[in-house]
């Protein structure tokens, strides 16, 4: 069965039991009813404050955690504990930290080759090596460095190694969790270009998690904004930036430091008061209401869900 979408996520929930007293456990609702779809070869950006659940969405989507509830479909097939093994070859993850996510005792060759071994993707040693070198070339690594250890590489090169490993199984979909956040801007540009080239060549789709909104806007076709476990706005990249609707999205966009002095001087920052509420002690109704200047009684009582505002733009807000 084929489908227009590579991934369809519906009402995904991920609760973590957290000990809050001697005998008491409270569910921490890290992801609380998230739905989205990603087309083949498309990039969906995912942004939001630290702790809002971005990484958890990525992980439970790939069943690295067992989701508390909800459904994930890959190319139309529901992911289950039984078929997750074979599904893994369709979806991969690239992690934020290029320093700690790779085993320092393995050579680059072995790191990239590991998925080949796991999924038995070669018939002899020579073929294995050829495939590895091919991947290294694809991500812009020097093939002569295949026998080096990770610590001999710079941050940007390590990130390439991580990406090569993810590509080894020929996935159709990659969750990229802050893949450029730890890198210098000039290296960041190299890696972003590489993601775009790979997408053009291999038609792979990305869920691209990042906190730098300029980067997300640059790379994404669509962007989803999360706040405390829920998506509160989702739209095409340009639409979201020129016409943000949710008060949280508006303040988020206004807070992004703009690398242009004239624009920076002329615009008005909307600085949000206060901190994000604790996910263990969430406000009733809309989670954003404690920091929202438009909050009404309704926001206290009922949590708004995403509604269609036309132009492929969805917003969860009672007042906007």
């Amino acid at each position: 069965m084929s489908s227009e979408y590579i991934v369809e996520v519906s009402d995904l929930k991920q609760y973590f039991p957290v000990r809050t007293g001697l005998f008491k456990k409270t569910p921490l609702k890290a992801v609380d009813g998230v739905s989205f779809k990603i087309k083949h070869g498309e990039t969906l950006g995912l942004v939001g404050e630290s702790g809002c659940g971005k990484t958890t969405v990525g992980r439970s989507l790939l069943h690295l955690y067992k989701p508390t509830a909800g459904e994930v479909k890959v190319e139309g097939t529901t992911v289950t504990p039984q078929n997750i093994g074979s599904m893994r070859s369709k979806m991969q993850m690239v992690f934020q930290d290029p320093y700690s996510s790779l085993n320092p005792r393995m050579t680059v060759e072995d790191i990239i080759g590991e998925p080949f071994d796991v999924h038995k993707l070669y018939s002899n040693k020579k073929e294995r090596r050829e495939k590895i070198l091919e991947l290294m070339e694809l991500v812009g690594l020097n093939a002569e460095h295949a026998t080096r250890y990770v610590h001999e590489f710079s941050g940007g090169q390590r990130q390439r190694i991580g990406i090569a490993r993810a590509l080894a199984v020929n996935p159709k979909f990659i969750v990229c969790d802050e893949p450029v956040s730890a890198l210098d801007v000039s290296i960041q540009a190299q890696i972003l270009n590489m993601f775009e080239d790979l997408q053009a060549k291999l038609k792979v789709a990305y869920l691209f998690i990042a906190h730098d909104l300029l980067v997300v806007r640059h790379i994404s076709n669509r962007i989803a904004v999360m706040y405390l476990g829920k998506i509160i706005e989702i739209a095409d990249s340009d639409e979201l930036n020129s016409n943000p609707v949710h008060p949280y999205t508006i303040s988020l966009l206004s807070a992004v430091p703009i690398p242009d002095p004239k624009t920076a001087r002329s615009r008005q920052r909307i600085v949000l008061e206060g901190d994000v509420p604790s996910p263990l002690n969430m406000p009733s109704g809309c989670a954003f209401r404690t920091r929202c200047k438009y909050a009404t009684e309704q926001c206290k009582e009922q949590c708004p869900s995403l509604t269609d505002r036309g132009n492929n733009h969805f917003v969860a807000c009672w007042n906007k």
Binding site: D184, A189, L214, V215, P257, R269, L272
Partner: protein
């Protein structure tokens, strides 16, 4: 005449390691005007933090200022005794660090640490010091300061801890605040709060700020003057408008080209090719030469002279020198 609160002249700082001398800072000069914000940008390892640590003289044991002067109100602090430095750090110049968790002591309450800092550097009584501490917490926008006073650092959010750090740095009303990546660990919305706070305090208290960051957005929003560093040297210096709208060093140009366009166009990014330089083995000529697409022969062997492009805007790149030379006269000096 402009009054400078801090003048750094030809600063050289090295670390003497087993592998050899790491020349982290190689001839940095800048002037900081009272009440202004000076930004330092540059890639990872370019010497931004070491420059700030040199001013505070809080280098690692292996590190040493090998050459240069640092004038605070016309006194060379590199000649200060440790006792004088102690007073300088407490009264005149404070620093906030990137990670607030490593600079706050986890076993003491926020209030206790703040009060101790005040007691150490002023002759206030304990009661006065406590009052001042609570006042400071209020000043930096910590809600319920009375309650926070008795809390431990781990009980506060990241943004709140960074505020406490700022309160601590400002408790003795320094003339200079050095902020090394003060918001890198924070969310954009919290970052905006902290930047707003720093701007507000700078205006109200009239202090000068040195803001170290690799975020060009933060630089554009905050700074009067900007220094761009590469390989332990200043490659360009000027106002925000000079640097962003008339960059005159190939590294600065490359840096600006490698960030996504603010208009949101999906135009392909232009990275700076090559790898960062090795400080153990500095090139003879321009530090950026190996990565520069426009490098000339002269760049390999001679360090570029600093030229004043327009008043107050300086850049060290041979291309500018070449451009200024009268046609036909180039040969007179170097072979370009």
């Amino acid at each position: 005449m402009t009054e400078y609160i801090l003048q750094v002249k030809d600063l050289h700082t090295s670390f003497f390691t087993d592998a050899g001398e790491v020349q982290a800072v190689n001839g940095v000069s800048f002037n900081l005007e009272a009440g202004k914000i000076l930004g330092i940008v540059g890639e990872s390892g370019s010497g931004k933090s070491v420059t700030s640590y040199s001013v505070m003289r809080i280098l690692a044991d292996t590190g040493r200022i090998t050459k240069g002067e640092i004038y605070f109100k016309n006194e060379d602090i590199t000649k200060y005794s440790e006792k004088q430095m102690h007073k300088f750090r407490g009264k005149h110049c404070s620093m906030i660090f990137q990670d607030p968790m490593t600079s706050l002591n986890p076993v003491y309450t926020v209030g206790n640490q703040l009060m101790e800092a005040i007691l150490l550097h002023t002759d206030k009584s304990r009661k006065q010091a406590k009052e001042r501490a609570i006042e400071m917490l209020e000043l930096v926008g910590v809600n319920e300061p009375q309650k926070r006073y008795n809390q431990y650092p781990y009980e506060l959010s990241g943004g709140m801890r960074q505020r406490v750090m700022i309160a601590m740095a400002l408790a003795c009303e320094p003339d200079i605040l050095i902020a090394d990546e003060p918001t890198t660990a924070l969310d954009v919305t919290i970052q905006a709060q902290i930047l707003e706070l720093m701007q507000d305090l700078q205006k109200r208290l009239g202090m000068a700020i040195i803001l170290v960051t690799h975020d060009l957005g933060v630089i554009a929003e905050m700074c009067d003057e900007i220094i761009v560093m590469y390989g332990g040297r200043v490659c360009e210096q000027g106002t925000a408008d000079d640097i962003f709208y008339n960059p005159c060093h190939e590294y600065t140009k490359g840096l600006l080209r490698s960030i996504p366009d603010i208009s949101g166009s999906k135009k392909r990014l232009t990275p700076i090719s090559g790898t960062p330089i090795n400080l153990l083995n500095l090139p003879k000529g321009c530090a950026f030469c190996a990565r520069c697409e426009k490098a000339m022969k002269v760049c390999l062997s001679y360090q570029p002279e600093e030229l004043e492009i327009t008043p107050g805007h300086y850049a060290s790149c041979w291309l500018n020198v070449k451009e200024r030379m009268e046609p036909g006269k180039e040969e007179a000096r170097h072979e370009f």
